[in-house]
Symmetry: C2
Amino acid sequence: MYRRPDVLLEIDTSNNCKVHVDGRTLSFGHAAVGLVDVLHRPLTVSEAVRRVRSRTGGQLDTRDVMTDLVGLVHAGVLDTRPRLGFSPRPWPAGGYDSAYVHLRILNDRRRKGAFVAAVRETVRPGDVVLDLGSGSGILAVAAAQAGARKVYAVEPSGMIGLSEAVAEANGVGDRIEFIRDWSTRIELPEKASVLTTDLVGNEPLDMKIWETLTDARQRHLRDDARMVPASFRSTARFYRVPGSYLSAHRGAPADVATWNDWYGIDFSPLVDQDDRAWIGTYERPEVIRDWPTASDEVAVYECDLASDVKPFEVVTAPVDVEAGANAVVLSYRARLGPGTEFDADPRKGGADSHWYTAVWLAGRAAGPVGPRARVEYRYRGDGSSGLHVRRVGGEAQ
Amino acid sequence: MYRRPDVLLEIDTSNNCKVHVDGRTLSFGHAAVGLVDVLHRPLTVSEAVRRVRSRTGGQLDTRDVMTDLVGLVHAGVLDTRPRLGFSPRPWPAGGYDSAYVHLRILNDRRRKGAFVAAVRETVRPGDVVLDLGSGSGILAVAAAQAGARKVYAVEPSGMIGLSEAVAEANGVGDRIEFIRDWSTRIELPEKASVLTTDLVGNEPLDMKIWETLTDARQRHLRDDARMVPASFRSTARFYRVPGSYLSAHRGAPADVATWNDWYGIDFSPLVDQDDRAWIGTYERPEVIRDWPTASDEVAVYECDLASDVKPFEVVTAPVDVEAGANAVVLSYRARLGPGTEFDADPRKGGADSHWYTAVWLAGRAAGPVGPRARVEYRYRGDGSSGLHVRRVGGEAQ
């Protein structure tokens, strides 16, 4: 018996808890927290019950513990073996268990092909490879094909069973060990000489690659380990977004009049408030491609994944901005391998891209942006970021 | 000091925990669970520390408790007052704190106008109204404008400050009490005679309206309370989805050949597995509108929100299906008020709709659907659902 690694608990005052799993929320009694806790590694049922009871001084009735245990098994929180295969539930509720996301990833040849090429030029015969978030298994299989002696492929979702089958189908199943867990929770029997991962989100750090690799460097990797990707250079560029796009994403005085007409209600406070700050959204590259640019690209930070320097504190240089600029589009270039770079510029992406691009939109009350401005983009840690635009020599916008 | 109501905890073996908040994950020591627990209602700092220490028999050092407390305040998990205003973070990370979702909702006149009309025809002078998930405040303000003596507007997100300002701007701020919390956690000083809510998702029950209203009926509402909405009638209809759409969402043998060409890796297990079951996705109504239908509509369940009958166990009648059917589209009609219905049929929705429609797609290995089939759509509880299609007289597909 073991627990799935990605369980979220919502605990109430009486130590009962709700478990959030696969988009559902299920309620359990006061033994559930202990069961989820002790079964983070496989145990027999009797040993799990013994440990849960002993930690409360034996005050928990065995039947109460078993009731929660059976409920957690029924809910898929505890299981006797990893579940195989896709989730049939609608995306995005299925997360990385969902077929759809992996089809999108594999059909994004420009990006995924670059990662595969980088793995092939980085992995040497005899390497030990750690592949984080192995998904369909593509980078793990490519590493094994490139001659890796051993690949540890870590993936918390139910895709793990299918990626094992993919490895078998490609004749490298004996050299890849698939581990259904988070890399921050496991111990490996040896240190890896190469790390491969596509834990790269809409913004390069928003899937916590920096935090995850900081842990991996300390515990799973040799000091001289090679990394795919090796570094990011993150940039910002001003754009002129069409008014229709802006008004679909931000409140406008005309909206207040329309809503008043439709509903007989004055929503001006909502629009006034929304008008003050820059707000973020994600957009498809093929939409952004049609917008005019209003500045050169300006670097906002560089992040070397082989070092432990925090990329959080870097602030940009000033940039010349054309009149009418009302949006900042973030992009990045990833150094994937010695001879392979991936450029996430949305003007190079299209409908095949399975990623979105971060766009920050100005509020009307912020005033005009140019002719010179400073973009302050800050990675706050744990996947979260913030953006401010300042007029050079002027106040914050 | 109080805690925000929507905190998720991920607890490790040593009772340290990670707190998931606003899309970030933050780590805390062994006092954090206790603090999150006791501060579900406002307490002074000293009282919170006292309670956390006493529940462990005083074994926790006060400094350790204060360290976690300060960290939780810094993370926005604990606060001295509700935060006001929108989140500037990119959608969807901002959730219902994000401006974008409320603009989308207000710009969806067909749907939101029907809810407002139903509130206006349901609320009578002197009513006490409970509005769940008040968002921008639109239904609460409409209820006050219709003569409600008192409106309790419950909303867990940071929108609550703005909805208060909207109520003030409309001259009804003195009759609406905004409560930043979940309705399942609060006590009201009186029972309500009307419930209003737009807690209606892509599928009518997927935002847990049934569970939430079951609780509200028992604790917050008079026995004869009127409800907006009052009931749902959920339906399914077979469609013929274009091959290009299907292959973008499901693996196909041609994809296996393409991926092998691009990556030198055989992904046939992935496509084989994906081919067996029906899988779900959400799609925009304006996309579905262009697909040919392949059957009549068939009712899958009816759900009366004024009763406590579970809608979970209902299975459909058989339906005649035309050749080539490869998808099931779910829809519903909501009875909002005595004279107001909202029909979520995607063929009536367009780009103004802020909702998606649930679509289930057949796998090739499932075989042909018709000429007669049975749709088994099951609401599983807690927002989750599943779908099976069976040939009438034949085996499961």
